[in-house]
C-alpha cells in the first residue's frame, strides 16, 4: 500500500516537469514578454533601453537556461515580480490562495450536502414525483451557464433584496478573529458558494442516481434481500456503499474542477481570489502572474488526480496494489 502511494507520488514528478515545460514554452510563444509588459504604461521607452533590460533579466539566454532559472526559483515559491503590481508574485498570491481554497472547499462541501441526498432519493425512488423534480432541477443545473446564473443571483439577492454584499471577501473594518468577522465572511461567501454549488451538483446527482439504479439490480443486492435484510438496510449496507465509493474517489478531481470554476465566480462577485487575479492579469499582460497561476492550477490538477487514485485504492478493497 505504502509502496503504491510512494510510486504514485513519484509519477507526479515527470508529470509536473512536463507541465512546467509546456507552460514555459507557451509563455514564451505569447507575443510580448515581461519587458514589453513592464513598459506598456511607458510609451517613451526606446527599443535600446528595453533591450538592455532584457539582457539584464536574462531574457536573451537560451531557452533551457531561462527554464532552469525559472523552475529553480518557482520550486522555492519565487515566481518573480509582477510588473503591474510592482511586487513579488508570491506576495500577491498569498492572501488570494487562502481565499480561493476557502471558496472551493466550502463550495465542495455544500455541493455534496445538496447532491448526495438528492442523488440517493432520485436513485432509490425512481419515477416518483420526488425523482422527477430532482431530475428537472438537475437538467437546469446542467443547462444553465454558470456566469448567467451567478449574475442572476447577484442581481436578485444583492442588488434587489440587499441580503448579501455584492463583492469582496470580508469587510476590512471588522477586527479579525471576532464573531462578527466570521459572520461577515460567511455572508460574503454565501452568494459565490451557492451559485457554484447549485450548478455543480449536476455531476454527482446524475452519477449517483444512475449508479444506484444500476446497483439495485445487481445480484449481490438480491443476495442481501434473500437474507432477510430489511429494505432500508439493503440500501445503507449494500447499495449505497457501492455507489458512494466512486464519489469518494472523485473528491480529488472535484476540488481541482472547482478551482478552475472559480475564475467566473470570483470575477462576478469581485471575490479577491486566484481566479479574479487571473482575469485581471491576462488583461494587463502581467505574464509572470499568469504563468504562476497556470502552473499552480496545473499542479492542483496533478495532485488532485493523485489524491483520487490514492483514495480509491484505500476505500476499494478490490484495488490492493502491493
Amino acid at each position: 500500500m505504502l509502496k503504491f502511494i510512494i510510486r504514485r507520488m513519484l509519477i507526479m514528478i515527470p508529470q509536473l516537469i512536463l507541465l512546467s515545460l509546456i507552460i514555459f514554452v507557451l509563455a514564451k510563444a505569447m507575443p510580448g514578454d515581461a519587458v514589453t509588459g513592464a513598459f506598456v504604461s511607458n510609451p517613451n521607452a526606446t527599443p535600446e533601453q528595453m533591450e538592455k533590460i532584457r539582457e539584464s533579466f536574462g531574457l536573451n539566454d537560451p531557452w533551457y537556461v531561462q527554464y532552469g532559472h525559472w523552475i529553480g526559483k518557482a520550486v522555492q515559491g519565487d515566481f518573480g515580480m509582477s510588473f503591474v503590481h510592482k511586487q513579488p508574485v508570491t506576495h500577491l498570491l498569498e492572501s488570494r490562495v487562502a481565499n480561493t481554497l476557502l471558496l472551493a472547499a466550502v463550495t465542495m462541501i455544500v455541493t455534496y450536502i445538496i447532491s448526495i441526498p438528492l442523488g440517493i432519493i432520485a436513485g432509490r425512488w425512481t419515477d416518483t414525483w420526488a425523482d422527477k423534480i430532482i431530475v428537472t432541477y438537475n437538467y437546469f443545473a446542467f443547462a444553465t451557464p454558470l456566469f448567467v446564473f451567478a449574475l442572476l443571483m447577484l442581481f436578485l439577492f444583492s442588488f434587489i433584496l440587499g441580503w448579501f454584499p455584492s463583492g469582496g471577501s470580508v469587510d476590512i473594518r471588522i477586527e479579525t478573529g471576532t464573531w462578527e468577522y466570521f459572520v461577515d465572511k460567511a455572508k460574503h461567501l454565501f452568494l459565490p458558494v451557492m451559485s457554484g454549488a447549485l450548478l455543480a451538483t449536476f455531476g454527482t446527482i446524475q452519477y449517483l442516481r444512475n449508479d444506484i439504479i444500476d446497483t439495485k439490480l445487481k445480484d449481490f443486492v438480491k443476495t442481501a434481500r434473500s437474507k432477510g435484510v430489511p429494505e432500508g438496510k439493503v440500501y445503507t449496507r449494500h447499495i449505497l456503499r457501492n455507489s458512494l465509493l466512486p464519489i469518494a474517489a472523485f473528491l480529488g478531481l472535484e476540488i481541482t474542477g472547482l478551482i478552475g470554476g472559480s475564475i467566473f465566480i470570483e470575477s462576478i462577485f469581485s471575490y479577491p481570489g486566484l481566479g479574479q487575479l487571473f482575469i485581471q492579469s491576462i488583461g494587463t499582460r502581467d505574464f509572470t502572474v499568469v504563468t504562476a497561476l497556470v502552473m499552480i492550477s496545473g499542479t492542483a490538477v496533478v495532485v488532485g488526480t493523485m489524491l483520487s487514485d490514492i483514495i480509491l485504492s484505500i476505500v476499494d478493497p478490490r484495488i490492493r496494489i502491493d
Binding site: F220, K222, T223, K227, G228, V229
Partner: protein, 341 residues
Amino acid sequence: MANPVLEIKNLRTSFNIKGNYYAAVDDVSLTVHENEVVAIVGESGCGKSALALSIMGLHNLKTTKLEGQVNFKSQNLLSLSASKLNKIRGKDLGMIFQDPMTALNPLATIGRQIEEPMDYHMKLSSAAKKKRTLELLRRVGIKNEQRIYSQYPHELSGGMRQRVVIAIALACDPVLLIADEPTTALDVTIQAQIMDLMKELQNQIKSGIILITHDLGVVAEMADRVAVMYAGEVVEIAEVRELFMNPLHPYTRSLLNSIPSNMEDKKALHVIEGIVPSIQKLDRTGCRFAPRVAWVPEHEHEESPTLHEVEPGHFVRCTCYKNFHFPEEKVGDESYVTTKS
C-alpha cells in the same frame, strides 16, 4: 412420503411490459417435501428463475403481478408483508444464485456476508457469530477458514465463492433451499465438487431443495423428483429414475436427445427447432410446444393439453405423446430409445 415443506398452487407470475401483463410462470403447482430435491429443468427463458424469485419474494412488485399461493409453514408467502417475509427469508428459506462472481458484495468481507443473516434471525453475540461462521466455512469444504473469513470476494476463485454463497444460504439452518443454476457458471471439476457438497449437506440437514438447472446431467446426479418446464408451464413431473428411463413428453424427450454425451458419438444430435418464445409473443392457446415439432401433423396435437397423471407420481401435459415420434426416428425402431444405457 415425508411432510410437504412448500406447496405452490396455481402460481402465475406476470411482468408488466409496456402496460400489459404477460405471464412468465403460468399456473404452476408443485410440492416440495422434507429432505427432497426437486429439480426444475428447461431451456433458458422457460420461467425457472421467475418461479424461484416468486417464492423468495424478490420480484419488483411495481412491475410484477403474483397470483395463486405459495404455502410455507401454513402461511401464503405471496400475501405476507415485507417485514413478515423478511423474518422467513434467510432463516427458513435460503437461496443460492447462479453466478458466484456477482452474487457477493464486493466491498464486504466474506465473514461479514455470512454473518449478516444471523444479525437478523439469531440472537448471538459477535463471538458466537464468528464461531458459527467459521464452522459453516468448514462445512462447505473451505479449509483455511480463518483466512477466508477476513478476505474479500475478489480474492477467491469462482468455486470458492460458490461455497461461500452456499454457506450464506445455510447460515440459519433453512428448511428449504432454492438453488438457481448453482453450477452453471463453474468448471466441470468444480461443478462435480459443488454437486457432491450439496448432496452431502442435504444428507446432514434434511432440508427440501429446489434445484433449478438447464443441465439434465446435474438433474440425473442430484434430483429426487423432476419438473420439466416449458414456456412457463410444467409439462412433465416424475421421479428422477422414471423420467430418465421413461420420458413421455415430447419436450423432455427432445431435451434428452440433444445432449451430446447422451447420444452415440458423431451421430447427429436432435435439434429442437425454433426458440423458446418470449412472453409477449407466446401463443397461449393450444399446446405451447407444437410450433417446435413442426413435423407433427395438426390433427395429432391436443387442443389444450392439461397435466394429468399417467402413472402414480408421473404427470404429463399431453395425451398424444403415445403417437409422438422424431422425424429421424423410424416407427418401431427399437434402437432409438431416448437414453443410451
